[in-house]
């Protein structure tokens, strides 16, 4: 009996000791293995291959020799970033050794002819900043009865309620201009929280389909995106949302949500068209990267990736008027508001 007990205990300890071997060794970190790993992860998860007509096999075959021939980590990372750039997706990034590389869209380098500071100084001289957080929202009166709210970014979570303070202070406004020009996105939840302050009821503003299989055409069914009334302060009057090509991702979600609201007019230029919903992945050498995992659709189930959301009233500021200190987009919105 004692022998059996000792044998059982020995077997138990042996199985405990070799647990890590059972799972297998860490994957290799040589450049070929890293390249193949990242290529395969994109092959499994990236959502826009079909929509953008990308032959991922060909892209991999094109970049693999150069990546394997790289003589330094920096050169290898640059080659990976070059491969990612072929996707033309602002949501695709690579962070290697603390440095993040991302695709630079043509619109990123175009002049927006928008200067936040100059606009605030000229048109909203007595602007205030919400005190609840880190100044995510600036607000004031742009004209008699026309409130102005500036949201430069939706980065950071949980500050959507700061909009209540702004709405409380703009209580006399009969219409409100929401300026999100140059807003590169951030947290979808915050964008939805802000939009909820302007909703009278729950509304469907779009759909998502998630990549969910190894084939490039494998997606979930359409998942409804809704925006619900939220917060302690609501505004039910006319709203004018100012947009331009610098609006991406969650900022575009905000535009989508506001577009389905009655008495809402989008003024300015078309948004950037980055709708992918990124996920973070990692490589065995510690590098991380992001890639789009879903396709977002408008309420009529059309995509806007790489296209953007067109405004109701198109205003493209000219160099001359911008140089003269005029904000044509805001002026047009104010004119529409007081009409």
């Amino acid at each position: 009996m004692r022998l059996r007990t000792i044998a059982a205990a020995g077997l138990a300890l042996a199985s405990a000791a070799c647990a890590s071997d059972l799972v297998g060794p860490p994957p290799s970190t040589d450049r070929a293995s890293l390249f193949d790993a990242v290529w395969q992860e994109f092959d499994l998860h990236y959502s826009f291959f079909q929509l953008k007509g990308i032959d991922w096999n060909a892209v991999g075959a094109k970049h693999r020799p150069a990546a394997l021939a790289a003589t330094s980590d920096q050169a290898f990372a640059a080659e990976l970033a070059s491969m990612f750039a072929e996707l033309k997706d602002p949501h695709v990034t690579l962070t290697a050794n603390g440095r993040t590389m991302r695709y630079i869209a043509p619109y990123d380098t175009m002049p927006t002819r928008y200067n936040e500071h100059a606009t605030m100084m000229k048109y909203v001289a007595s602007a205030a900043t919400t005190s609840g957080g880190q100044g995510h929202v600036r607000y004031g009166m742009a004209a008699p009865n026309v409130g102005y709210i500036r949201i430069a970014s939706f980065l950071g979570g949980g500050w959507g309620n700061e909009i209540d303070e702004a709405l409380g202070s703009l209580g006399n406004a009969k219409s409100i201009v929401i300026d999100i020009r140059g807003n590169g996105g951030g947290e979808r939840g915050v964008a939805n929280d802000v939009a909820g302050r302007f909703m009278d009821r729950s509304r469907t503003f779009g759909y998502l389909r998630y990549r969910n299989g190894k084939n490039h055409s494998d997606f979930t069914n359409y998942v409804t995106e809704t925006v619900d009334p939220q917060g302690s302060h609501h505004f039910s009057g006319p709203v004018f949302v100012l947009t331009n090509r610098g609006d991406y991702s969650s900022a575009e979600d905000f535009v989508l949500a506001m577009r389905v609201r009655p008495q809402t007019t989008i003024v300015g230029d078309t948004t950037g068209g980055a709708s992918g919903g990124p996920i973070v992945r990692e490589l065995p050498n510690g590098w991380t990267y992001e890639l789009s995992q879903w396709i977002e659709y408008t309420p009529n189930k059309t995509t806007f990736e790489g296209v953007g959301l067109a405004p109701d009233v198109v205003i493209k500021p000219t160099a001359a008027t911008f140089a003269a200190g005029k904000d044509e987009v805001l002026e047009q919105a104010i004119a529409l508001a007081i009409r």
């Binding site: 059982a8 138990a12 647990a19 990692e282 510690g286």
Partner: protein, 262 residues
């Protein structure tokens, strides 16, 4: 590889148990028909879940368990549960700051029948339901934290050997999944909220075992102490493979009731 390495261990345990069974004399009638064991202990864990990362992780955890056992003549019904909190760190050669935290649990119901009235062996079926939430902390600039939900419900054969020794009971239990359903996330929890998917599994794509070895003191008293070793492994050959191995030691008490000793 998982089963090439573990099958010798399982085979040895079976041989050991068979040897013990053959050598023993007719066991005395069990003095109690029911028992409830409650234990707590620590676990050593290793896992690889390609849904979250290509990197294998290892770590430790704390778990608590219960086991309710009731005998009906030659039949034996066992209900077991486990809840655990585990932390993992990366096993990548390069070393990264990524780490994971998991909350998981299992619930197993087994119905076993003794080979004969004098046998220490019983065999039957086990329904095993297990799942958990894995929170993966990436080392990206945004310090992204993403959760992954997984779950498995499987049915398969189970065997148990029990032997009276040193005034207590020694026991070994082993079950393996044969068929069932699995929920293994394609990416993160958002996709589960959008469209959860469940796949049928068989030995072709899911293999594993649950093994327990333990000893209960004072078999003829209502209250005893219990110490047990447990090990389980699971290898799910999904598009993105999931492998996990957990071993652990638990200590606790066992309460016995039902028929009193004569």
């Amino acid at each position: 590889m998982l089963f090439r390495k573990t099958s010798p261990m399982v085979a040895c345990l079976c041989v050991l148990a068979l040897h013990a069974s053959a050598a023993q004399t007719r066991p005395p009638a069990p003095p109690f028909t029911q028992s409830l064991a409650i234990t707590g202990g620590f676990t050593i864990n290793d896992h690889l879940d390609a849904s979250s990362s290509p990197i294998p992780f290892s770590g430790t955890g704390l778990d608590s368990r219960f086991r309710y056992q009731r005998s009906f003549g030659r039949w034996n019904a066992i209900v077991e549960g486990e809840g655990a909190r585990r932390t993992y760190s990366s096993r990548a050669d390069a070393g990264t700051s990524v780490h994971e935290r998991a909350y998981d649990g299992s619930f197993t119901t087994s119905l076993l029948r003794g080979f004969s009235s004098s046998s220490a062996f019983s065999a039957g079926l086990a329904l095993d339901v297990r799942g958990g939430v894995l929170t993966h902390h990436y080392a990206d600039p945004g310090a992204t934290t993403t959760s992954y939900v997984n779950g498995y419900a499987t049915l398969g054969p189970a065997v148990r050997w029990q032997h009276s020794a040193l005034g207590g009971n020694t026991f070994l239990g082993l079950s393996v999944p044969l068929v069932g359903i699995a929920h293994h996330p394609y990416t993160d929890v958002r996709i589960d909220q959008a469209s959860p998917s469940f796949n049928a599994v068989t030995l072709a794509n899911l293999r594993g075992y649950n093994f327990t070895a333990g000893f209960e003191t004072s078999a003829r008293r209502r209250l005893g102490l219990i110490g047990e070793f447990h090990a389980n492994a699971l290898d799910y050959a999904d598009i993105q493979r999931a492998r996990t191995v957990t071993t652990g030691f638990n200590l606790g008490v066992v309460l016995r009731f039902g028929r009193t000793p004569r």
